[in-house]
Each structure stands twice: as C-alpha cells, then as structure tokens.
C-alpha cells in the first residue's frame, strides 16, 4: 500500500474525537490523490468501527499500551509503518503526537509538520498549513521524504458522519525489547476535573488578573465554565498571581487552544495571550475598559464589570443549556 495512515488514538474503550477528524480529512485527501486510507491502532479498541469512517485497513498492533510508554508506542508505530508503507502519516498533536511522533520521525529519517490546521493536496502531495510565531504567521509545510508525517491540532477538521464500509483488520506484532522499558511508570495521577483538556476543549472560559484572588477565580470563572461544560483557563498574570494552576495558562508560554467558543473575563488581550487563543471560532470578551485590545479580536464584546455580569451569564447559560 502507499496511502495515508492515520493514528487513531483511543481512551477508555472509545476512539478520541481526533481519530474521526483525521480519518474524515484523510478520506478527502485520499480521494484527490487516488489512494486509500488506513488506520493504526495500538492496543485494545473497537477497531472494526473505523471502516465506517473510510479506513480500508486497520493495522492493529497487539500489546499492552495501557500505561503510556514512549518507546513502546514508537516501536508499535514503526511496526505498523513497516507493514503499511504509507506515503503520508497523520497523527493528532496530542501528548503522544508531541512526545512519540518526532522520535518515530527520527527513527524513520523523514520529516514532520507539527500542529497543522489545514491539509491539502498540491502537486500530487499532501501539504500542511500551520500557524507559526504564535499565530502571527502561517506557513506551508512540505516534506520531501516518505512517509511525510503531519500532526494536526485538535478541532481543526469536522467530525465525519459514519457511512457503510468495513475495514480489513491486519494484526501487526511489534518487536518490543528490554530497551523499550527504560522508562517505567511509577504512578498515574488522574486529572482532578472531568472536563476536556484545554488543548482539546470545545468551550473555554478564561479569567485574568482582574479576578484579584483565587477565591474569586473559583467563585466566578469556574461556575461559569461549569455551566457551559467548558474548561477553565487563565492568563499568565492570573497564574503568576496564584489564582489558577499553571496547567490552566492559555497563551504563547501556556497552552494553545482551538475551541468553538472562548470567553475571556477581564483579560486585556496581550499579544502573548492571543497567541494561544486567536484561532478560536468565536471569542467573547468582557472587560470594563472599552479600549482593551482583546476587543479587537473578539466576535462579541461587553463593556461591563465582570463581577456583575458573570453570575448572570452563569444563570443564563444554565437555563439555555437545560432545554
């Protein structure tokens, strides 16, 4: 084969959203290239389902991948690539996409385009387009060796609807060795919250320095986020002041997010903050200063005291989402 191979990640017995997003895009690209789509799945997952999303083959790598082990993931992916011989590999820009994929690329001696937000066919090859310099510029990435590897930012592509179609499941066995066990898991500490990670969240509510204390951050930002099923985020000023956790920082030196809805509460809109949030589909900003730079990037803006409007919004959202 020489088509497109998609890394379909799964968790808790279900494929992640990115698996469907990537398969949908791969199908479209394969259509214009006149080639086929395959998926690679590491460990136990409902592999048969992927046929409905356009995968004609699923390379299923057996083994225990339940505890994340970079070296085993790389070994497993390497085995699937040896079997599938793809021209193009697509993977999500998830932790695995950031941690294991570049290592795989080095092993294969090829090249990688990271965090693409667009993929297209140009001159018979897949080209990635992605934000660089904190989203202040965009660039095309072409890779002259095979397989060309691209990681894709979550929420960049639509979720396809499943169609008929079944995939041939190809069992792949990877040659794991003792050297793949050089890093051992001692303990996994699950997330305290049940909401999506900022980098994958569809809705985010962020608070800034204006919240003035951790207590007020907890009393104003978190309930509003909860009402929307959104993930809470924060500006660096709020993190530095100890109002929010450093894992919650959005921005150039925090997380890059790509939600449908981004709500900024009392955030001025510094360039480093926007760097992490500017690709959000809808940005809604509340600020008491009508001149705040955040308003230049907001889809909707309200000039108000956040302490007055946020509780009302929380109630409105609760009511709106009930029916």
């Amino acid at each position: 084969m020489s088509g497109i191979l998609v890394l379909a990640e799964h968790e808790g017995g279900k494929f992640k959203k990115t698996a469907y997003e990537l398969l949908g895009k791969a199908k479209e690209l394969a259509g214009s290239l006149g080639t086929s789509v395959a998926a690679v799945v590491l460990g136990d997952a409902p592999v048969a389902e992927l046929g409905g999303f356009g995968a004609s083959k699923v390379y299923h790598v057996a083994g225990d991948f339940s505890g994340y082990n970079t070296l085993k993931v790389v070994r497993g992916l390497q085995a699937a690539i040896d079997a599938a011989k793809p021209d193009v590999v697509l993977a999500p820009a998830s932790y695995t996409g950031k941690d294991a994929i570049p290592r795989l690329v080095a092993r294969l001696g090829t090249g990688q385009g990271s965090e693409c937000t667009e993929l297209r066919v140009d001159g018979g090859a897949v080209v990635g387009r992605r934000p660089v310099y904190a989203g202040k510029a965009l660039v095309d990435v072409r890779i002259s060796k095979k397989p060309a590897v691209f990681t894709v930012r979550p929420n960049s592509f639509n979720q396809p609807t499943p169609a008929g179609g079944s995939a041939e499941v190809v069992a792949v066995s990877a040659a794991f060795g003792a050297s793949d066990d050089r890093v051992q898991l001692v303990q996994r500490m699950e997330a305290e919250s049940t909401v999506a990670d900022l980098t994958e969240a569809e809705r985010i509510v962020s608070g800034g320095r204006s919240l003035k204390s951790a207590e007020q951050f907890d009393a104003v930002v978190r309930p509003l986020a909860a009402a929307l099923g959104a993930t809470p985020g924060a500006s660096r000023a709020a993190v530095d002041a100890g109002y929010a956790h450093h894992n919650e920082q959005v921005g150039q030196t925090g997380k890059t997010v790509n939600p449908q809805l981004y709500i900024a509460l009392g955030i001025s809109g510094a360039i480093q903050h926007l760097a992490g949030s500017r690709t959000s589909k809808v940005i809604f900003a509340i600020n008491k200063d009508a001149e705040a730079p955040i308003f230049e990037h907001a889809t909707y803006g309200v000039v108000a005291d956040l302490f007055e409007i946020a509780p009302l919004l929380t109630e409105e959202f609760k009511a709106a989402l009930k029916n």
Partner: protein
Amino acid sequence: MKVGVCIKSTPDTDTRIKIQGAGEGIDPAGIKWIISPYDSFALEQGAQTREKLGGECVLFSVGGGDTQKNLRDGLAVGADRAVQIDDPALKGADSLVTARVLAAAIKAEGIEIVFTGRQAIDLDNVQVPAMVAELLDWPHVSMVSEFALEGDTWTAVRNVGGGAREKVTGKLPVLVTTDRGLNTPRFAKLPDIMKAKTKKVDVKTASALGLSADDISPAVQLSGFGTPAERSKGKFISGDVATQAKELVRLLREEAKVL
C-alpha cells in the same frame, strides 16, 4: 556529572512578525532574539543539577546571529561553558538536521543528562528533543514539571495531557524536556554576568562534528509565509448587564451557533 542544556534563540514574544517578499520567510529586521522561554526552565534545572552534584554544565545551541549573546546570558545563569554550532551550511535546517547536529555535539562532550525546553516558541515544533534522544539512543521524558536525581536513578513527573500527570523513573542517561512549574528561573546577578564574559564558547561547524552533506540535508521545506486573515470586526452588546447577558446567549445560539 556532565550536564547538557539545549537553548534556542527565538524572536521575543511581543515582536511584530512581518512577512518577507512574496512569502519566502519572515523579515528579520527589528526582531529582538531571546532565549526561548521554556529553555529558561532547562537552564535553571541544568544549573541546579550542576550545583548539587558538581561536574560541568555545558550549553548547546545551533544558530548564528544573536545565538552567542544568548549563550552568554545562559552562562550567567550558572553553566560552565558553551558549544555553539554556527554554520552557513545549516541554513534551512529542519528539526532532524538540528537534532543530528545537537546529538553529535552532545556525544562529543560525553554528556550524561540533557535538559531542553518543551518547545521553541518560534515554530512551536516540539520535535528536536525527542529526535536528539532517538539519535543518541537515550530515552526521553517530555513536559516535565517535577524532577529528582539520586545516584544514577531519576524520577520525573510529566504532564501527559487531559490534566493527568505521570510519575516515571529510569536510569541515566536521559533527555528531559521542561515544562512550566518545574522551577523558577533565577535572574542572573551582575557578578555572574561579568563572569559569564570570561567563560568559553566553542564555535563549531557541522562538518567538524563529523556530519556529512546527507546528514544536513533537510526533508522539510517551508514556503508560502503569510499572515492570518483578520477576524471580522466584532460586535459590542449594549444595554444593562441583564440585557447584555440575555442578548449574548441569544447571539451565541442563533447567530454564532456555538451553544
């Protein structure tokens, strides 16, 4: 202990980025080059490790221009010396080429542990460190927010996404990429800045490190640099706060269709 730290010079975070010509690249005029912010955590961790265990902390950086100035800033934080790879043949290097250069330099110095930033804030590639580790045949641990070293055994806590964290352990050698929260980078004091001026920076070329023309030929080509489309001008919602709140929910649902 021989500790290595990789740092990269990147445009300052508030730099305005201008596109050069018809999209060949970015205009370097007026850009201030700083040590990539995540690399400050790597520098601090390298300095602390060296202070605790003795030995030597060596900085590595591939690049020209202000790279050497940034290496001096890094030396002021507590490293002993630096290796700069500055070579016109590396223009257009991709991550794997850069990783080959760094791996060769790290190997030549007999380094036992390497700290790097989790990502460089220019292209946000998140590629070079894992590639360096693969080329050295060392394990690596990414996005580390806690780290301890006892003898030749290390323990790290990494941020694996979804808010989950994992404590992992292994033996030296290892390459660690640093995340926020690992430490608080120190500010260099004036005497340290003065002392850094006398520390040694070796400048090397790729071929001096034994790399062939093939090794430094990139697989990744960047083109078509452009600026993102401006967002269409937003709407201010007026009225008292109760009206504003109601109207916003309506707009999100009926106009933006995100609820």
